[in-house]
């Protein structure tokens, strides 16, 4: 049954691929603007690269959040999802997984290519991709709570950012720190482990909170 949720959302994402591509395109453009604006100062670029890529990833993930429940809410399929004979926790997890597969994963895979513009070393590029692979699911999971809480509200997009961005801060700090550490040659394990811990924590609690928020939003 879990498979059906993921499959459903992936099919829908494929049929509406313009939305998916626009998120990726935003990430691509936002990151590429910095080297153009700062100019060819390799040292400075290298210094800001982790922060720039991570902030762009953060904003891009937030753009994708709007799609998570809003469409299903409007056409009444969300109601039907609530009435399926399986824990709402799994429904939410499946939807978030599908969202991450179409927004987080391509973002992480794209990041090494974008990192080249900042003159990052091979190792730093690899660490960046890994940190994004660990961090973007946390962004999607935590963001799903905000998306569920603001469902059906006017100006929901703005509210999501106010609710969710502060919660994104730890992910941003540890994600960027991992890339930083790889550039100065110190161990990256610490930051990556912390990202992993955040992922484990949000995997357990976020879908549960989102499920509760959805029930309230649909009352």
């Amino acid at each position: 049954m879990f498979r059906w949720i993921v499959l459903r959302d992936l099919t829908l994402a494929w049929k509406g691929r313009v939305d998916v591509l626009s998120t990726l395109f935003f990430f691509l453009i936002a990151v590429s603007l910095f080297p153009l604006g700062i100019g060819p100062e390799t040292n400075l670029l290298r210094l800001v690269a982790p922060g720039v890529v991570w902030v762009a990833a953060l904003l891009a993930s937030m753009l994708a959040l709007g799609r998570l429940f809003a469409n299903d809410y409007q056409d009444g399929t969300l109601e039907q999802l609530l009435l399926t004979p399986q824990p709402l926790y799994l429904v939410v997890l499946g939807k978030v997984l599908a969202l991450w597969l179409v927004s987080g994963v391509p973002l992480a895979l794209l990041s090494p290519v974008l990192g080249i513009q900042f003159g990052l070393s091979g190792k730093a590029l690899l660490v960046m991709a890994v940190s994004l692979l660990l961090g973007t699911p946390v962004l999607a999971l935590v963001g799903s709570i905000g998306a569920a809480l603001t469902l059906g509200l006017r100006g929901g997009g703005l509210l999501i950012s106010i609710l969710v961005l502060p919660l994104y801060v730890p992910v941003l700090i540890f994600g960027a720190a991992a890339v930083d550490a790889s550039m100065v040659g110190s161990g990256v394990q610490g930051s990556l482990s912390l990202l992993g811990a955040l992922l484990a924590l949000s995997l357990v609690f976020a879908p549960w909170a989102t499920a509760a928020a959805l029930r309230i939003s649909l009352e």
């Binding site: 459903r8 009444g76 039907q80 009435l83 009352e219």
Partner: protein, 205 residues
């Protein structure tokens, strides 16, 4: 057996209804009537467990539906105001996804034959956004035939249906009641169903 005792509903700061009692045994039809805004949809959503009652309880087979959780949903089909279809998917895909989520696999052929029964043959492979309102309603109705749940909760199912579709809905409900199912229906139309056990609730403003 679906039972409600002293059911009350409050939306915002307005009390929609209170002290609603009913007891529906297998094979019974329950029609909810009332002017716009009298709480028909709210009552139906209470029965589905989408809304928590302000007072009173609803019991299914003797157990409170709040404590049954997901188990209750295996016996429930709900069609609301909105059809619950994905516009991008074809009726066949919509049907297969819903039944997959309900835990039963439906093959392409089975889905097509069910859609044929609700008068959608030849339209199975068009995206739902290209269908007319009535055809979308028919697709939503096809959901009732995939799961065969004992409790149907139908909110204004007859809107935007033509006379042949209305006959279809009547025959579906009659068949459902004969199989020992329970149907809760909110509608302004006269249903004219031949059933042994019929109850009507009139909600006032």
């Amino acid at each position: 057996m679906l039972e409600a005792t002293d059911l009350g509903c409050v939306r915002g700061d307005r009390r929609l209804f209170s002290d609603v009692n009913f007891r529906l045994s297998p094979g019974s039809l329950f029609q909810v009537q009332g002017p716009n805004g009298s709480g028909k949809t709210s009552l139906l959503r209470l029965i589905c467990g989408l809304l928590a009652p302000a007072e009173g309880h609803i019991r299914w087979q003797g157990a409170n539906i709040c404590s049954l959780g997901e188990d209750y949903f295996t016996s429930l089909s709900y069609i609301g105001h909105r059809n619950g279809l994905k516009e991008e998917l074809t009726p066949t895909e919509n049907l297969r996804v819903t039944s997959g989520l309900a835990g039963s696999q439906l093959s392409q052929q089975e889905a097509s034959s069910i859609l044929g029964k609700t008068g959608l043959s030849g339209r199975e492979h068009l995206p739902a956004r290209l269908l007319s309102e009535g055809q979308r309603r028919r697709t939503a109705l096809a959901r009732l035939l995939t799961c065969r749940t004992p409790l149907w909760v139908l909110d204004e199912v007859l809107t935007s249906l033509d006379s042949s579709a209305i006959r279809l809905v009547r025959s579906l409900i009659e068949e459902h009641l004969n199989r020992g199912g329970i149907a809760v229906i909110a509608t302004h139309h006269e249903l004219d169903l031949s059933t042994d056990s019929f109850q009507r609730l009139d909600l006032a403003l």
